[in-house]
Symmetry: C2
Subunit: 414 residues, 2 copies
Amino acid sequence: MKIETVRGGLCAVKGVRAYGIKEGHNGLAVIEGKGQAVGMYTASKIKAAPVLFTKRQLEGCEGQIQAIIANSGCANSFTGEQGMRNAEKMAELAADSLGVKEEEIAVASTGPIGKQLDMELIERQLGHVVKGLTAEAAGSTAAAKAILTTDTFYKERAIRIDTGNEERVVIGGIAKGSGMIFPHLATATMLSFIYTDARLSEEIQRASFEDAVANSFNMVVVDGDMSTNDLVLLVSTGQGGAISEGDFKEGLNFICKELAKLIARDGEGATKFIEARVKGAASVADAKEAAKSIVRSPLVKSAIFGERPDFMCGRIIAAIGSCATVSGVDPGRISIGLKGEDKDKDKDKDKDKDKDKDKVSAVKNGEFMDMSGVAREVMRDKEIFIEVDLGIGESEATAWGCDLSYDYVKINSG
Amino acid sequence: MKIETVRGGLCAVKGVRAYGIKEGHNGLAVIEGKGQAVGMYTASKIKAAPVLFTKRQLEGCEGQIQAIIANSGCANSFTGEQGMRNAEKMAELAADSLGVKEEEIAVASTGPIGKQLDMELIERQLGHVVKGLTAEAAGSTAAAKAILTTDTFYKERAIRIDTGNEERVVIGGIAKGSGMIFPHLATATMLSFIYTDARLSEEIQRASFEDAVANSFNMVVVDGDMSTNDLVLLVSTGQGGAISEGDFKEGLNFICKELAKLIARDGEGATKFIEARVKGAASVADAKEAAKSIVRSPLVKSAIFGERPDFMCGRIIAAIGSCATVSGVDPGRISIGLKGEDKDKDKDKDKDKDKDKDKVSAVKNGEFMDMSGVAREVMRDKEIFIEVDLGIGESEATAWGCDLSYDYVKINSG
């Protein structure tokens, strides 16, 4: 099995057309492609209308959807019965325009909490978007751009999997990250829509999706605030090749991680990307909790913004210690390694250079090493890789995040 | 029963002497006062040496302590066996100077993680501090100042309880809040030492203390990072009056809340104090989780820094929704009220003015009110009181915190 990154995003997948427009803060995207959909939704106790609506739709049509309509500029969250009627209305309008059944439309929204959708605007925008629907790569990019809020770049990826049996399977997706919408009542929302042409059973599709989301989107922390609108959908058109469960899982994990890392990279105010790998844990659940606690800690994030490895390591220790359910932690066994990468700086370097040479041992079996020299150098890079070895087991997990900068405060206070 | 605030801090309590000095980042405080001690310690899985040591000491001497020695400038955390020996050495030095048993000394530290104590410095400072020990108010203040790190003011309170039976009971305490110590490896630590002269059984003392800490220090969130060094001790000298359990609980709750609020007020980079009261919850545990999730949210904190009631309310909703264990949340029943206070601005106002006039209804039964006028005005005050009514039960809880400002990032990145 071979994974190859290809262009085209969603539209690299057979049977998918997409388009979107953005006017100021208000964007609208439509993705058309008949297929079997599985969804994962925010764990918030207060779910936005489109989340509740789409969950119900997918149950009603047994996942057989025709299209997704998604808007940015208003979360349609905390909007009561009117909000639910508006989510339904979005589906109805999309169904009419596309000539399909209202029951087979999924809806998503992102933006400010507590205000109602402008249905006239959505109806008007929908007309343009449906006219623009295309299977060309530009359609996916337009949709990816339409759902952005405070994101600074659009997020789109596609891969082609060569199964070795002359079968070809494509997975393509778009995502938006944590962003706040000016001017009202904002929250951070993560949306992602992924399509594949793989021929799959619904069971394998669902199991693979849950696994991939758990290892990718669920391992990204920008600020630790959970949105009322988070929504991820995976739709398989079945127009491509057959693929084994293992190969599909691997491909889907790959693309979900790629999209998740793009979200971390584009976290609000981010100046640095953080990857925290925790190994040597007693269980994967422990490793996950520890890795997430590191990228969630405002103190760790601030230390990375300030390029201070010494502060950072002390706070990583505190973050690990604060994990309620991680078992067997022994300070004397903890080691921390650091690595930096910087595309701008590294491009002049020798390509054949041993990458591991950059790895600095900052903490070794519970003891702080000298962090005044190379460790400080590493922290100046744009991408910071932290590897924590708990030294007590065989399990590992990786989480992604970004630093906490002045701009995070600026973006979210203004 | 009547509670009256008095001066003198720790030294308002019969049988207590205190003193402390601070040289640059390095401070040392001693509190001398024979009594029955109960302690509460950080829940971190990685506890600093002084935390482990003091817990063991209190078990060994059945809580009968003679003195507390506490230093700032080094947390003695993540310091292995050497760290444990140094904590023991601190107790030994203090015992020798005071002419008491080493087994009856409690030790606390705050400062950078990962470096060893400078025992010579501690020995030298201890000489000065022991000579300075006094039962005068100035002794308590000197001790309160000695344990500070990035705190911007010292924290000290004392109350006299009139039980109505000609008995007088005093409770006095000092605390330090979340602060980071320049120049190395910092974490945030909360320390508080409280003395009382009340004649109490150990059972009542412990039960009252656990109750008071749960409702005060445990309800303060500056950044959500848990320290390896948090430590709170309550010592009763028994040299004052008798008091009923109920009256003592009330008094102790009062002083612990006062000290906790001082910590919130002095959170790193704080420009505003936040009090979040959640009522109408199904249980006290639910109300506590919801209230803490509000003051922990970086997005809520940023919105308060930016004085945006509309952003803030949307994010409060999201914060409540994200509470994993809060049951029965119904968006349509949630109401949010706002109130502001500003000592500088309010001093010119009519004293008799009805305080409740300032309370603004921002969200009413799931609907956002207009927040462009009075609500924005309220947010300009230095103290922001948020009252969330979940509308589903009878329980309530209050949490305290501060906003997230540029200075938080500055303090913790440099």
